[in-house]
Symmetry: C3
Subunit: 396 residues, 3 copies
């Protein structure tokens, strides 16, 4: 190893120490709101089991309301969602021996096969706070003793105020919300860092949406002043950062003369990106002006995340909704959420093997990765706790 390499390794280590908590968050940040399902995915009396940050959770909708409870029966540890069993409106029963828990507080109400059992009233499964807003079921995942849960708004993007025609916020009235979610085979942090990365345009510059709309996304952007990255630290509200592509903080590159390559497309198009804890993205005016794309990268375990892509737009009335449906189905979902973002999913998954085997200490970050470093520091500072792996928890 030569002197250069040694000093670069030392510099890397010094930087990494500044975001050590982030490096330890293999299983995500706990005590945070995460999307679990779209509302339409859980019909009345349906039970579904999901996993967020290693927490196995059963969701049941009863009389319209959604309840979330630990999805391992206290008796023999089977997942109750494997064979959904609803015997009353206010309980969930294990299909195996009929351990029946209150949906509201998780307490063992009865055992079908043992109605006089001394365990009744003594055992309890933990429950999770639920918020169903804008067609999405959110769960507050983390330590049971953490309370009160902060408002959902604290774990959503900010309301945009510096734009004459601001994009809609998820919780606005008269809003159109629609999207997809799917499994990503990488750690959640690789997904986040891919999301707002100002330098990954090479995987997008020739995508169908770019070609079809003659847009010019450039080849890359480099932060050249403090104006480039704005820290977001709302009191009791969202924490994160914003890539200020609309300012002179970023220098854009549309050409690389060393190797003779130019960005295609004639219409400049700056889709400003911001990222918030616990790990979600806002892209303004994308995939079309006035629309916003939200992305959540929800940790499943330390090697997988659930990739959520949701479009949010102003929308008043049936006619506007029909028009939005048309755009969503024939333009936004196929060209943006799929063709365009498929490349992002591919890139994250391609990083997994390297980062799984020590990459966090071997990567070589470059100029535009200042954004990643800022994010890592913010995440280290503002998170509400590092999620422990489930088996270590179990062994306590």
């Amino acid at each position: 190893m030569d002197a250069d390499a040694r000093s670069s390794k030392a510099a890397r280590a010094a930087t990494a120490r500044q975001y050590q908590p982030y490096l330890e968050a293999d299983w995500g940040f706990k005590n945070s709101w995460y999307p679990a399902l779209f509302s339409f995915e859980l019909k009345d009396n349906e039970i579904k089991g999901i996993t967020i940050a290693g927490h196995e959770i059963a969701l049941r909708r009863s009389k319209g309301r959604v309840y979330a409870i630990r999805d391992r029966c206290a008796h023999r540890g089977v997942r109750m969602s494997l064979r959904p069993t609803c015997l009353t409106d206010d309980t969930i029963s294990c299909w195996y021996h009929g351990f029946t828990y209150n949906l509201s507080d998780g307490r063992l109400r009865t055992i079908v096969a043992s109605p006089e059992d001394p365990l009744i009233g003594q055992l309890r499964l933990r429950t999770y706070p639920v918020a169903e807003r804008a067609g999405i079921i959110f769960l507050f995942v983390g330590d049971e003793e953490y309370h009160p849960a902060p408002p959902l708004e604290a774990d959503l993007p900010i309301h945009i105020s510096d734009d004459p025609k601001p994009v809609a916020h998820l919780l606005d009235p008269e809003v159109y919300v629609r999207g997809i979610h799917r499994l990503g085979n990488s750690n959640w942090r690789l997904a986040v860092e891919n999301g707002f990365d100002p330098g990954h345009l090479l995987i997008h510059w020739d995508n169908q949406i770019i070609a079809a709309t003659d847009r010019n996304l450039g080849l890359g952007a480099r932060p050249i002043s403090d104006e480039a990255i704005k820290i977001i630290d709302e009191p009791d509200g969202p924490k994160g950062m914003m890539n200020m592509y609309n300012t002179r903080g970023y220098k854009f590159f549309g050409e690389n003369r060393e190797i003779g390559i130019k960005a295609r497309g004639r219409k400049p198009y700056y889709a400003r990106t911001s990222v918030f804890l616990p790990g979600l993205l806002l892209v303004e005016h994308w995939p079309a002006p006035a629309w916003a794309q939200y992305e959540w990268y929800v940790p499943t375990d330390d090697k997988h995340h659930e990739y959520w892509e949701v479009l949010v737009g102003h929308c008043a009335g049936e006619e506007a909704r029909r028009e939005a449906d048309y755009l969503y189905e024939h333009f936004f979902e196929p060209l943006a959420l799929k063709d365009f973002n498929d490349n992002d999913l591919f890139a994250r998954e391609a990083m997994q093997s390297f980062y799984e085997h020590g990459g966090w200490n071997q990567e070589n970050l470059c100029a535009f990765d200042d954004a990643a470093i800022v994010w890592r520091k913010i995440a280290s500072r503002f998170n509400r706790g590092i999620q422990e792996p489930p088996f270590r928890r179990a062994a306590r």
Copy 2:
């Protein structure tokens, strides 16, 4: 953790100490008889390889008799059963270099490719005692130096003597024996405990066989006196326990008023269950009166077992055999061995992940699990040794 949880955890630990050997038996109990194949599965001169409790064993039938020998050639460690090679009636040869072993004592008789080799007569593969009875090939699996092997009867159910019309015993004369076996993706102990469990009726109460015969299995049963569970400790014979459903030791629940659920069916039907070392079940008068269902849960490795379901009935003469075939093929196998017991297999496999990651110390046993605790203690006391994992053995 509150005071209740602490004391329940302490109580759990105290109970668990009483059956510690059972908790260590991940790979099963050794020095025991296990079924390996049905007789019809091994034709003359056929060789098949199986695995029981981590022991890789080649079976060959020669001139009608079955021999069992370690299924790893002493030379280069390949499984001989991969390419069955029989060059003489009394040997098994490795397909690779022709190491040829006596079936009777496992000694190296010759090497096809090296007839003058000094190893000849010096090397030996261990053999296993074989008993072929009632259409089943049983092997005595465990330490080679353990001898004499106990009689097969010691590892089978008892002969029933307290019933005016007792079910047949596997080794009775004029007996009909037929069944299936298949791989189960769980540890063998989860299978045993599911087998005799007095509280798992919820997975069975609405099965096809119950609906078709209008039977009432109840919802659960709770031991309320010492009469409920009878310890079986025959001198030089079977060790195990019997759920005395036919006594007042058990209180049956046909209804759970807390959640308004009642067992279906009008005909009461108590199929008494007993369990024996090294891990097999007897269900009397099931799936129909006068029949008995035997189940073996044969450890394959620490995460799989071979699930054997065998029906045993009195049967004298060709006519009776044809009638039994009819019942077996059109009623017992599809409705009992498959539809009904598929639910048991599902339940065991659903427990595997939990128990694999510390569940033995996290379960919360309830009233009817007294039966499981008694079994664990009996198994801890009467087993003939805990099977070591194969690789640890190898490393000695």
Copy 3:
């Protein structure tokens, strides 16, 4: 364990100590030439990624010449070969952010998305020496600082000089070279030892090529004098050993009377075998007189190897080439490289589980395995270094 077993175990351990380095070479020998691809598998401007001894390597052909470079971008660790990207003739670019490296020296030339980046000129990916000869692309794999690389000839078989009609050498002029390569699911050493094994004829004696040509390969051969195995130690040239089947050093067995088995075929056929570092085989006059079969067993990781089978023959002129194509396509490839050698691949893969779990200390070598022991000692003595596993390397 009895006295015999103890002394045999002690003897085995004493022998094993003599080739300890070989036992440690799970990932192969480094600083050696290995075949990577046939020339026809890499077209101009094509990029392909391969793995040899844990080294992930991208190959690109540009203006006819082949370059080899580490296939993990220094930035974020993705394999560049996943989405081949060539922006200029003398570089390779990462598809993700456009890190662009010189093919010649691996230095970072530019970053598409960050043309003014301080990393440019500072980072470097290691490159690998390439030799393209006789239609095969060879790479010198190992430590970057090892130089100069020895000539390719040093890692190829010797030129045969003791035969009145010697088989051709790969690097001879007017030579016909054609073959296949495929993945083998075993450690590379099991493949080598299978290749020259004088005792594994039982898997071949009834193969189609043997039956169709009425050849008699015998049942086995035992070294009976020092003449049997010739050590090859050319100054600055190949190191290895040759099974001198053409001398009286070997005693052939065509029959085993103990079990009454005789080799089939009437025409004696001694295909002399030799083996060379880092792990390749030469079989003379096989699959037909005047032809030579080369086999490389290239370590992929510690559990897989790439199995190369290449036929080499004298061949002058178009007519001879057409005739060779005819023989290759309709005789050599289907009957020798596939039907015959499929058995070898099967045998190696059958050994993997045993050797992976301690088999190196549990095998029982016999008379003809003297050849294996000589090879292990030669390999221990002459190798240019034991390849470290990639993740241990990464953790330094």
